[in-house]
């Protein structure tokens, strides 16, 4: 019997980009699901005539707004790394990745500042436990993003300058995080 014709070895087809896109979808579903429960619980408390936000708690708007503003900057830096890598501009790529990590750290720091300013305990009713659950999940995603940036930077510094797919995937991750935080900012910090 004849055999099937052998073809050329399949070229890699953006595997890291596709995988990161699925990871990003998972992040959006995680946050979307949590925010949906947040909205349901908030509506339930408000319908019962009580206040959702404990009266002693004030949301510090400056750091939360700064976090929101920082995200587009962070995404710009991640995209800058992609742009520079396409031009084989090693210095700009590394600087852009460093800037991405720096801004991500600033956002983590701002979230920690929000915790200290709000002075709400995890056991302070429904609001307390849900607030820490959703912002804690966000912080965990930020840490994952920082690790992603670090790995990307080290691979690039290690000489894999042709690995632009990873840089694009890295940018996709941070775009998804922008969407995630924008939704959290609106429901948790603005709508309150």
């Amino acid at each position: 019997m004849d055999a099937l014709t052998a073809g050329p070895a399949p070229a890699p087809r953006n595997q890291v980009i596709v995988g990161t896109t699925f990871a990003s979808i998972a992040m959006v579903m995680l946050t979307g699901g949590m925010l949906a429960v947040w909205a349901v619980q908030r509506r339930s408390v408000l319908d019962s005539g009580e206040s959702w936000l404990p009266s002693s708690v004030t949301i510090p708007e400056v750091p939360t707004n700064v976090m929101l503003i920082a995200f587009p900057a962070l995404c710009s830096f991640a995209q800058w790394a992609v742009w520079a890598a396409k031009r084989d501009d090693r210095a700009n790529t590394v600087f852009a990745l460093g800037s991405t990590a720096f801004v991500a750290l600033l956002i983590v720091n701002a979230q920690a500042f929000v915790y200290t300013q709000m002075d709400v305990g995890v056991a302070d009713g429904a609001y307390g436990s849900m607030f820490y659950a959703i912002t804690g999940a966000f912080l965990a995603l930020m840490v994952a993003g920082l690790l992603f940036t670090t790995v990307t930077a080290f691979r690039y510094l290690g000489g894999r300058t042709g690995d632009r797919e990873l840089l694009t995937a890295h940018a996709i991750f941070w775009y998804a995080m922008l969407a995630v935080f924008t939704a959290i900012w609106f429901l948790v910090y603005v709508t309150k």
């Binding site: 052998a6 579903m29 979307g32 949590m34 436990s129 804690g136």
Partner: protein, 554 residues
């Protein structure tokens, strides 16, 4: 001077050393066939454990008045049943088979992110073991041991993360590692079903993980006012254990059935896009999970289907639409597959005027029965939310879950039998496996259908009931679970006998397969293919055989 120490090989001289090396090789392997087989092996054991739980529940239900367990024990027992059927049976079996087979079907040398998939498998295994430990210590849904309830939630979070990893790996594999010439329309049915399943896992499991984070924080550190502590688990995360979410986990089982239609009836399956649409329609059940609703009730309010004025119409439409979307659309998807089977099974004559006879294999028997059971479970699940039937809170819902989970298990066993030559190089004989398929379908029907009847007779969903006339249905259910236990034990024994036996290796293409995994050797080598074949149709092996037949004739 050398700085390389090559001593590890020295241990391979002893039997213990060789055994350890083999174990380590298996446990750390990135070969998708090994990862998939580990997944399947662990899943079959957890399936057996689930059947044992079902047997205990059934024994307890023989006498509805006598309670052999205290309230904590039976609460955890019923919770164990749900956990076992979903996280111990349907999910890992389908994931394992998909991981083992999909790359071979695509002409890929490996699974995308194989280490991620292996990690996902271990996360599932660890999470499942921990959840069993928590359940055994009164820590499940409504459990009285606070630490164990926390462990139960964390264990499910671990499993959810594991299945996200598996889903992303499978979906990425289908999208990025196909052989040259294999367009999406030419993807084998089973692989397409794995794509829908993988995307569904990526959509559903993060939502479950989010709910579990809330529950864990509220239960562990919060004041338990938001989610109700241990009692809130059923309300806020119970949807993962109920229909229609569970349909999503059965999609690869439907894929096995669709995959085997062509080779069984020895013809091409027409209208591939329609079959793909069927899988996708079943995948709509994933959207039910993202709504985090336990039920999609259709309250007709005793109106006997009467539709009144505009407001009444609007209200009823609002009730019916979510139910129809999440229950009827998946049923429509499965019905498409059934109609496709009826179409393909229609007898035809070949060029010589001889009627083409189907080639029934043990794999097809299992897959056919499994598909049928899943479809009956879906139909039952669609009936349960109709409030006027008063099925909510009865054993009817449990029966539809058993139908879907056991049906999925049967179909996956069919897949294991079908691809056994590629996975470990042996063929499971029809005369040995076919009786198991019949035993299995008998077991599933007996384990489920009597509870459909008992549901209409108002047997409540717990362990106790007042009407002694219901005992007969529960005895039948006990017999059904017993038959299912025998089926799974027999299947494991049959597989073990071929794996460890000295039968001759199977030939490369024992079932006249249509897809390219049958072009490689049995068993498939580590990279699946020596040379990656080029694909020019959805049934490349059938094309090749037709060309060879024509060539021989001329």
């Amino acid at each position: 001077m050398t700085t390389i120490d090559s001593s590890p090989d020295a241990n391979l001289d002893s039997p213990v050393g060789r055994l350890l090396a083999a174990v380590v090789d298996w446990l750390t392997s990135t070969d998708h066939k090994k990862i998939g087989r580990l997944f399947i092996g662990a899943s079959l054991i957890s399936l057996l454990g689930t059947i044992v739980v079902n047997l205990v529940i059934s024994i307890e239900r023989i006498d509805g008045a006598a309670a052999g367990f205290d309230v904590d024990a039976w609460t955890q027992l019923l919770g164990s049943q749900r956990v076992g059927l979903v996280f111990g049976t349907a999910l890992p079996l389908t994931a394992g088979l998909a991981i083992a087979v999909v790359p071979m079907q695509l002409g890929a040398r490996s699974l995308a992110f194989a280490r991620l998939a292996a990690t996902g498998m271990y996360m599932w295994l660890g999470g499942f073991v921990l959840s069993v430990f928590a359940l055994a210590n009164n820590g499940g849904i409504g459990g009285g041991n606070a630490d164990m309830v926390g462990l139960f939630l964390a264990a499910h979070g671990l499993m959810a993360l594991g299945f996200i990893a598996v889903g992303a790996s499978l979906a990425t594999t289908v999208l990025t590692t196909r052989a040259p010439g294999m367009t999406m329309r030419r993807v084998p049915y089973f692989s397409f079903s794995a794509l829908v399943y993988g995307i569904g896992l990526v959509l559903v499991m993060p939502v479950l993980f989010g709910a579990l984070i809330y529950l864990f924080v509220d239960h562990r550190s919060g004041d338990r006012s938001a989610f109700g502590g241990n009692e809130g688990i059923a309300t806020w995360a119970g949807w993962i254990f109920t229909q229609p979410t569970t349909f999503l986990f059965a999609i690869p089982a439907l894929g096995v059935f669709a995959e085997l239609l062509g080779p069984t009836f020895r013809k091409r399956t027409p209208a591939r896009g329609v079959v793909f649409a069927g899988f996708s329609l079943v995948g709509v059940s994933a959207l039910a999970a993202t709504t985090q609703q336990l039920r999609f009730d259709v309250p007709w309010r005793g109106s006997l289907l009467y539709i009144g004025d505009g407001e009444d119409f609007t209200n009823k439409l609002g009730d019916v639409l979510p139910w129809a979307t999440f229950h009827l659309v998946p049923v429509l998807g499965a019905t498409i597959l059934f109609l496709m089977m009826a179409f393909v099974a229609k007898p035809e004559k070949n060029a010589d005027g001889v009627t083409i006879k189907p080639k029934i294999t043990a794999g097809f028997l299992f897959a056919f029965f499994g598909f049928g059971m899943v479809l009956v479970g879906m139909l039952g699940a669609a009936m349960e939310p109709i409030v006027d039937l008063r099925l909510a809170g009865t054993v009817f819902g449990e029966a539809s879950l058993v139908y879907v989970a056991y049906g999925t298990a049967l179909a996956v066993m069919g897949g294991i039998i079908n691809w056994a030559p590629k996975l470990w190089g042996k063929e499971l004989e029809l005369k040995k496996a076919a009786p198991l398929a019949l035993l299995g379908v008998g077991g599933v029907v007996l384990a489920s259908f009597p509870h459909y009847v008992a549901g209409f007779l108002d047997q409540p969903g717990g362990l106790a009931y007042a009407d002694n006339d219901l005992a007969i249905w529960n005895i039948l259910v006990l017999a059904g679970h017993g038959l299912m236990a025998l089926t799974v034990l027999g299947f494991i024994g049959l597989v073990a006998a071929t794996v460890f036996g000295d039968d001759d290796d199977a030939i490369d293409d024992p079932f006249d397969g249509h897809t390219i995994e049958w072009a490689t050797t049995s068993p498939a080598p580590a990279g699946n293919f020596v040379d990656v074949p080029t694909i020019s149709s959805a049934e490349p092996m059938l094309d090749l055989k037709s060309a060879n037949t024509t060539g021989s004739a001329s």
